[in-house]
């Protein structure tokens, strides 16, 4: 239970922090924390939790953004699926594969956003002038990815350990004496 609560808090924290940072730093230096969290949780947490978190993060970002409702949610779900698939082929726990993957995924995410906007709204929020910004953001996400992975897996590991210990103790106390 505690890991699930921690994931929800991490997701809320990521959205709030991203919204706050948006007021302070230029778009090129604004890391996509929601995408970063989706990837790191997809690598470190059980699949169902990671899937629900990806959907929650996406819908949350949709509410706080000018996107169509469901647009970022769909992209986060696709990011989750891509991460799980790639993680099964390459071990994304290692820093370099994870950073490379995040760089590519951040660029694909921007392309996906443009494509969905074009499809549903008839206009894309990204023009050619957005390419340097998209590249800079992808590089930033890639640079932050190993640290974010260590943080998320560390938090989850410590909470699992705590939960496991508590369950063990409860189980032991209920065991018949004879």
């Amino acid at each position: 239970m505690r890991p699930a609560v921690a994931l929800v808090l991490l997701a809320l924290g990521a959205l709030v922090l991203q919204g706050t940072l948006a007021a302070l730093v230029p778009p090129a230096l604004l890391p996509d924390l929601a995408l970063l969290l989706t990837v790191t949780v997809a690598v470190a947490a059980p699949a169902t939790w990671a899937l629900l978190l990806a959907a929650g993060l996406g819908f949350g970002a949709d509410v706080l953004s000018g996107t169509l409702m469901g647009q970022l949610a769909l992209l986060r779900l696709l990011a989750f699926a891509t991460t799980r698939f790639v993680h099964a082929q390459f071990h994304l726990e290692r820093a370099i594969p994870l950073a490379s993957f995040c760089f590519a995924l951040a660029l694909l995410d921007a392309l996906g956003l443009a494509a969905l906007s074009r499809l549903f709204l008839g206009a894309s929020p990204l023009g050619l002038e957005a390419v340097p910004t998209a590249l800079a953001r992808a590089a930033l996400v890639a640079a932050l990815a190993p640290g974010a992975h260590r943080l998320v897996s560390g938090v989850l590991a410590s909470l699992y350990e705590g939960d496991g210990r508590r369950r063990e103790v409860r189980f032991d106390t209920r065991r018949p004496v004879i």
Partner: protein
């Protein structure tokens, strides 16, 4: 069966969520590209996030304020003294001129704007920016409980900022003019040439107009035309900086420098009035606050 469901549980959940996102997008698209989420479940999240963001931005704003008020002014003391002396001199020479300087303050302009348009203005503080850098919207700390509704124009003393696109009880989201989804019917103040002002996603706007002689020039002011029934007529949008002539096309475009400095947007004013188009879109007067309905009668 249980094992089968257990094995397919995750793919089924994934499929269901993907269908949900597609359904949400289609539904949202039908409500005119993202407008009108007043009663959506998302308002709860906005309500939750806005106070936290406000609290997070408080130390930043306080530091900025401290710097602007004290630290940055240390070196300006001498100049300040000189300016004070100069001001006193001007006051002696021309009392009316000094009066004009005071009248040019932004509060005065806001008061004039309120008088000119006959619409109540609700001050609001910008407390958050769009979490996606590809879209240009901000969160403000006034919402439905302050009579702020979707479809209401948002202004500063400099001019038009954008439109409220979603509101929660104590917060609202404002789509800025800069957003690529934003389009405003505008006209050149000098020549009355009409066109559409669109956001480009960058710091500038694009004015698309029909060619009828040399009626759009750099330096011209662009204002809202009032056509389209969304914004009142006469709100300042920006100034033409460049006209791109394409002889092969009937439609020309010009680059517009917005009147509002969107990089330093802190306080804005929501015009508590929705145009007829927004009224039709949001289903009549039932959704309107009393003050707005009253003001709407005299609005241009």
């Amino acid at each position: 069966m249980r094992e089968f469901l257990g094995r397919l549980g995750l793919p089924l959940l994934f499929g269901a969520l993907v269908l949900l996102t597609l359904f949400a997008m289609v539904a949202d698209r039908r409500v005119l590209a993202g407008l009108g989420r007043d009663r959506s479940v998302g308002s709860a999240l906005i309500e939750l996030v806005v106070p936290v963001q406000k609290a997070l931005l408080f130390p930043v704003d306080a530091t900025r304020d401290l710097w602007a008020r004290y630290v940055a002014l240390v070196g300006l003391r001498a100049e300040n003294e000189r300016l004070r002396a100069r001001l006193a001199e001007l006051e002696e020479q021309n009392l009316q001129y000094a009066e004009a300087i005071v009248a040019s303050g932004h509060l005065q302009r806001i008061a004039e704007m309120r008088e000119n348009f006959g619409v109540p203005l609700r001050p609001a503080q910008v407390v958050g920016h769009d979490v996606s850098p590809w879209f240009r919207s901000v969160l403000v700390d006034r919402g439905g409980s302050h009579e702020v509704r979707s479809g209401m124009p948002v202004v500063t003393d400099r001019g038009l900022v954008g439109l409220v696109t979603a509101s929660a009880p104590h917060a609202a989201r404002v789509m800025l003019l800069l957003d690529r989804q934003s389009a405003v019917d505008g006209m050149i103040q000098r020549s009355r040439a009409r066109g559409i002002v669109r956001g480009t996603g960058t710091g500038q706007l694009e004015f698309t107009f029909m060619v009828r002689g040399d009626d759009v020039r750099p330096g011209d002011d662009v204002i809202t035309s009032g056509v389209g029934g969304v914004h009142p007529k006469g709100l300042r949008i920006g100034r033409i900086v460049e006209v791109r002539a394409d002889s092969a096309s009937l439609l020309h475009t010009a680059t517009v420098q917005p009147a509002v400095d969107f990089g330093r947007l802190e306080q804005v004013f929501v015009m508590l009035h929705r145009g007829p188009t927004m009224e039709l879109l949001y289903g009549g007067e039932g959704d309107l606050p009393e003050a707005t309905a009253r003001a709407g009668d005299g609005a241009p």
